[in-house]
Each structure stands twice: as C-alpha cells, then as structure tokens.
Symmetry: C2
Subunit: 343 residues, 2 copies
DNA sequence: GTGAAAGCGCTAACAC
DNA sequence: GTGTTAGCGCTTTCAC
C-alpha cells in the first residue's frame, strides 16, 4: 500500500478531540490513566473520523504484535482446512490476525515460510504440517524457531516434530491400532496398507499402530504389502491400482488418510469391485465428507478443528519450562465401508 | 511478541559488515546505489548472522507492505479452500504474506475483518465471499474499502458485489442454465431446486440461469419447488428431507452447490432411493471430491484455484480507471448422478 | 558509491 | 489525569 497523506493519524484524532496524542493513545488502547469521560469522547471522535490505527507503527513501538502465523502443508487438504478453522476461530476470539502459509509438503519452503513469519514479528507460530522422521530435514527450521523463541516468540506444533515445543499430539498410534484391530476382528487376513511418505512422523506412527494390532493378534505384519504413494486422493488411486495388480487376493485396504481412501473407493467402483462385500476399505482422519461417501467410510476420527484451537491456545499461553503436550484422541468410527471378508 | 534485545537489528549487520546502515539497507533491499561487491558482502554477513528484517519497521518507514488480505466466508468450505490455494500460490510467487479472514457468512464480521486488514496496511484485499443482494448489507464495507482505495489500497472481489472494484466473475447464470438444460434435456419435468440463502448474489444468479433454461424450453418455472436451507452439506440434507416429504414426485434435484448435493445424495442413499435410476442429482462448483463420490456427481465446474489466482493478480496490477472484470467459465460436467427419469 | 539524519505513526516512560 | 518526548527499526532524501 503506498503512502498517502489522506490516511488519518492518531495525532489527527487527538487534535480533533482536543487532547494530547498520549491521551488519545491510551483512550483507544483501553490503557488506564484516562478519565472514562475523556476516553469515551476520544473513541467517539475516532469512530466518527473512521480512524484505524496503523498496526505497523503500533507493533514497532510496542514491540508486540496482534498476529499469529499458521504453517500448513496444503490448505486445500480438508485435514488442514479444518485445523485452520480451529486456529482462525481462536484467533478471531482473541482479536488476532492469522497469517496462513503453505509449504506444499516441502521442508525447504517450510523454512522460508517460518522466516517470513518471524520477519512479520508474529506473536506465535503454529506449525500444523506433520513432522519429518529425518531430524536433519527440520534442523534449519528448528534453529530458526529457537532463535524466535529466545526473542520471546511462542510456538506450538500439531503432530510429532523434533522441535522441542508445545505440541498437540493426535493419537496416531492408537488410531492405527484401533482401525487395524477392527479389520482383523472382522476376519480380514489378507490386507494391504496404502500410505504416504514414510518420511512423515504421522505415517510412521499410524503404521506402528497397525503393526501393534497385528502383533497383538499374534499375526505377522512383515508380509503385509505397504504401498507408498502421495498422501492425496490421486495417490490413493495409484496405490489402489498397484494393490489390485500385485495383490489381487486382498480383502481389505487400509488407507492411512481419508483422502487416499476416497481415491481407493473411486478405483474400486470403477473396476466394479463392491465395497464392502468384496473388499473392505478404511481411512484415517474422518474428514467431513467421510460420512457422506457411498459407502460411508469407516475411519479414525481426529478432532481437527479442536486440535487447531488447542494448538493456538497452547501457543498463546505463558511459556512453560518444559514443552507441554496435549493428546488428541483418535476414535474408530465404523461405517459402511468395512465388513467381514467374502466367505 | 515481546520486545527483546536479542533480536538483530539492521545496525548490527551494518556494523559487522563495516558499512553504514543506509548502505546495509540498500544492499538487502536490492536498491541501486551500492557497488555490487559491497552489496554482496552485506548480504552474506546478514545471512551468516541470521538476520531477518522487521516487517513492521520496514512497512512503517516505506509506507508499503508486502502482505495482502483474503476474506472468505468459511475456510473449511472446499470452495473457499480452493480459492485460497490460488491466492496463496500467487502470494508465494510474489513474495507476499497472505492474511486469511473468516466471516462466517456474516456481513457484520466481514466488516470487522476488512477493518483489521486495513489496519494491517495490507497492500491488497481480495474479497472472496459472495456478495449480498441487499446493498445495505455491504454499505459499510463499501465505504471502508473506498477509503482504503483512496489511500492507495487495492481491492478485487470474486463474485458479484456492489463494491465497484475489479472482479472475477464466475458465470453463474450460464452454469445454472447449462445444468438445468441438461436435466430438462434428459426429460426431467418434475424437478426441485435446493439452494442457500437468496440474499447472496451467487445464488440469485444461478437461479436466474435455471429459470432461463426453463423459459428456453418453453416451460413454466414458477411452479418448481425451490427449497432454501444452509448452503452446506447439512443444509442439503435438510432440503432433501423437505423435498421428499413435500414433493415425492420429483425425478431430479438440482443443488446450487456441491456441498448441498453431497448432503442430498447422503439422504437419498439412507432412504434407499437409487441415484440416478430413481432420482437424478446435480450440483454446482465441482469441488474435488465431486468426481469421487458414488455416484460421481454431475455438476458445473468453476475453476476456483484459477479464480483465486486471477483475483490477486487483478488486485496487484496497477489500478485501472474503471473496474476490470474477468469472467470465469462455468462448464457442465456430466457424470453418473444424472440420467433420464424413470419411465 | 557511501554516509548522516530526518522521519514513518505509534507506545511508554517520565514529568507535571 | 494529562501532556511531553524519546525511541521502536527501518527507508530515503540529501550531502559529500
């Protein structure tokens, strides 16, 4: 926005109201030390004139800013869109501006975005993308965030990161175990897993839960095909093709997120394979469409909006000595896409 | 973020590099008037030290900011999430921070959010929510935006508003006409429309297109039931219930967005009504899941990501004397949810 | 090509 | 309770 002399300054309001700029400042920010009568008059004058304070001047002078940053992998992904909803909700409640950044699941871009937020002197940063298994991938981000925190910035993450900060941790292991147990209980013994990159901690954890379920049932997990593709609908389609080609005997496909599950359902339908009669399909996340699919999707519910809210609340709170952890439950939701294997 | 003396200032970099603060500033911003050798050295020192410029100080001094605002009704709605994807994409390309605001489809909150963006001195504002039919509902927003523009701010909207600014206009009328014609061509004569609030211009336009199709076919539109509910999946469910109860004879339901159509499909499935054999269903928007539903959804494709990109590009461009308009095509996509009515 | 210095609009001591 | 004023960290004339 270009400079322009038509913009009102606090001085203009002060002059108009017949007070000093300091009094005007106090009146508008609600600081004590002004008589209520004067304060109200100043506010009225400001409203009349249509004055809006310059956030940059305010932040520069006060050294604090009323804005926070949210880093997501991909805002078009319903998982992140819902988390964003939660963060925006708390932000609105607290009168905070929320800056949303995309990383495109690229740890390099993630770093750029974090730098940008730091440059913007946001008061808090919520990192919502999954962490990476390889700590090196986040080493740079970590050191930047540490400098940011040393300078008084607040950070919270959603998911397992190597960042040593407050975290909201979805119970990915428990969820993975629950959904796998569900399929095993139904009697499925020839199962395939469709997953995103195993560089992501989210995926490693969900997979660990699945392995636990197998172990718990006294079954061997090592022989179960785990097909890795993009963690998206398109990736789900690809994974489904591969599974059908390489493992035509499977009676159940467990996708490690709903997006992939949707892609899988789509391929099965196109092939005329009936779900759940011939093949069961389960997902993970419980994005809102999951219940409206045909068949409705058995999945693991993660309270994403809630997780977004909690993350920002954690970040806004006074810093603790040790990182805090909030565990978000992961509940199995059984719907129509899973059933016992064909006889 | 609290003030803290551990944060690096430009002066620190300048000192370290052995130049004046002015030279350091020029070097980092790429301004002319510095020898390339010195500039490069300063940049190197800054990188080494991990210096990040304070955006507030920069914006205050320069009077310009590298950030833009995006106003959406609801980021969890895939329609807006995709538009946001487009806006974020262009923002990232141009090195701009994007601040996303929720209005919750409330014209009052919309105003608050716009004020907040103005206070943040963003360089441009993209308003992505649908406009309201009643100009009074946007009068306040309009005057605020005009003041903002007078002060050098740039504005673009997506959809039909009464704001007198650059706009990206989806062809809602044409899309409505096309999808209605499709249903009429299939032979449907007992149709119901499920729609959101007719306070929104988007809906009025889509409805007008539908009416045109009826008129073009020499049919009477006035008797067609138009059921109004929330413009969401839940609203679609409600509308479906009402349509089934009050107009059990309908052979086709046209929803004015995909979200409602998904809700409708869900109710029909629950009732055991087969789509498209017994009832055809069509939507509008072509959100990404539309093609993966069962049955896949016949709908009208709006290039939402593209619309988001175009809107920000328009806003970033030099202001024109008259508002510019970019029309976004609305193409009928026929899938499996529509078929001729039962004999 | 480089540096000194005057602001940008606001907050927060500090005076009164 | 109110006013004066010194910065916040940077950009940008204007001198040299």
């Amino acid at each position: 926005m270009e400079r322009n002399r038509t913009t009102l300054r606090l001085q203009d309001v002060a002059t108009e109201a017949g007070v000093s700029i300091a009094t005007a400042s106090r009146s508008l920010s609600g600081a004590p030390g002004v008589s209520e009568a004067v304060a109200e008059r100043v506010r009225e004058v400001a409203r009349q004139m249509g004055y809006v304070a310059n956030v940059h001047a305010r932040s520069l002078a006060a050294g604090t800013s009323r804005s926070v940053g949210l880093v997501v992998h991909e805002i078009g992904d319903p998982y992140f869109a819902e988390i964003a909803t939660g963060v925006l909700r708390v932000g609105a409640r607290e009168g905070l501006t929320v800056q949303i950044c995309h990383t495109g699941r690229d740890s390099e871009r993630e770093l750029d975005q974090i730098r940008m937020l730091v440059a913007n002197r946001v008061g808090a940063i919520v990192v919502a993308g999954s962490g990476f298994v390889d700590p090196a991938l986040q080493a740079a981000a970590k050191s930047d965030l540490q400098a940011y925190r040393a300078a008084g910035g607040r950070v919270a993450v959603i998911g397992r990161h190597h960042l040593g900060v407050d975290a909201v941790l979805p119970d990915n292991v428990g969820g993975g175990r629950a959904v796998a147990e569900h399929l095993l209980d139904l009697g499925h013994r020839r199962m395939a897993i469709a997953t995103g990159s195993r560089q992501l901690t989210t995926i490693v954890d969900r997979l660990a839960g699945v392995a636990e379920a197998f172990a718990g049932a006294g079954l061997d997990f090592s022989g179960v095909p785990v097909v890795e593709a993009e963690f998206t609908r398109a990736g789900g389609k690809l994974a489904a093709e591969r599974i059908l080609a390489d493992h035509p005997e499977v009676t159940a496909v467990l996708a490690l997120n709903d997006d992939m599950a949707i892609g899988i359902l789509s391929v099965l339908r196109a092939r005329g394979i009936r779900v759940p009669e011939q093949v069961s399909v389960a997902g993970f996340d419980d994005v809102t469409v999951a219940q409206d699919l045909a068949p409705s999707l058995t999945t693991v519910r993660l309270p994403m909006v809630d997780m977004g809210e909690q993350a920002l609340e954690l970040a806004l709170r006074d810093p603790a000595v040790r990182p805090r952890r909030r565990v978000a439950g992961a509940d199995l939701v059984v719907r129509d896409s899973t059933a016992p294997p064909p006889a």
